[in-house]
Structures are given as C-alpha cells and as structure tokens.
Amino acid sequence: MPSYEDDLSEFERRNAQVLGISTDQVPTNEAWAKSMGGLSYPLLSDHWPHGHVAALYGVLRGETGVCERAIFVVDRHGKIAYVDIHAISEQPPTDKIMAALDKLK
C-alpha cells in the first residue's frame, strides 16, 4: 500500500482514485497510515460484517478471515477492467495497473 503514495501523480494523471481495503478497524488503519507519514487516499474498513466486501469480490480467505492481496480496477462506468489476485506476500505490479488504466477512455 505505501508504494501507491509514491505513484500518486501517475494515478491522478489517469483519473484514478486509489481505495485500500482490509478487514482492519478504522482506528487501526489510521494508526498504520500515520506511522507511514500519512497517505493521500483513504483506507476502508471491511470489518463488520466481517469481510463482507472481500467476500463479494471473492477475495476473503475463509481460514484466516483476512483478504487476499488483490487489485481490481473499476472503470468510470462501474465495470471491472482489471483483476490481479496476487501472492499474498508480494506487491502486485504497479506498471500493469497503470497499463490497465491507460486502456480506459
């Protein structure tokens, strides 16, 4: 998540809003963001009903109750334009996210 802060101007240039989502509670996310010096995008709390949005997107891990590390690009019309369900310990490649955004009108 922190790396998206470095790429913020690239997201803005592509008219893209970044939304981080985890099953943490809001105060936890606030404390984490503060510890990193703050973020220029919001962190959303999918805490209760626990992980219901992650489940809607098919990325809730049933055995641990956390979500996958996953990227969904949604275009201005509300359609899914790109999906990357990634290895949980690795950063999804930002260049592919940018390439997906570049294809959108």
Binding site: M1, F11, R14, N15, A16, Q17, V18, L19, G20, I21, S22, D24, V26, N29, E30, A31, W32, A33, K34, S35, M36, G37, G38, L39, Y41, P42, L43, L44, S45, D46, H47, V53, L56, Y57, G58, V59, R61, G62, C67, E68, R69, A70, I71, F72, V73, V74, R76, H77, G78, K79, I80, A81, V83, I85, H86, I88, Q91, P92, L101, L104
Partner: protein, 61 residues
C-alpha cells in the same frame, strides 16, 4: 497462493463491480482527515477506481 483454494465466486473482467459502502479513514489516511464512509458508486461517471485489498495493516508490502 490464491490457486490453492478455489473460491466459489470471483469477480471477473467485464462484470459490474459489486457496489459497497464502508467506513473509512477519510480522504487522506493518517493525516487527521475526518472519518467518513466511502461508496464505490459515488465515483461512477467521474473517476476510475483502483481497489487494493490488503491482508492487514502494519504488514510489509
């Protein structure tokens, strides 16, 4: 790895993104912005959205 456990349901390219509204840190996280709710469909017709699910705060990556 995601492939180890096949999910029953997964959103795919071309699908309508399931709408949601969640409590959030505010437009900027950790900079003192007032908490608010964020609704995906509020961006419709205005902005592309990059939804980044992550397992937990205070973890690397």
């Amino acid at each position: 790895m995601a492939a180890q456990r096949k999910p029953v349901w997964r959103v795919e390219v071309g699908d309508d993104a399931p709408d949601f509204e969640l409590p959030a840190t505010g437009d900027t996280a950790g900079k003192g912005a007032q908490r608010k709710k964020v609704k995906l469909s509020d961006y419709r017709g205005k902005k592309n959205v990059v939804i980044a699910f992550y397992p937990a705060a205070f973890t690397p990556v």
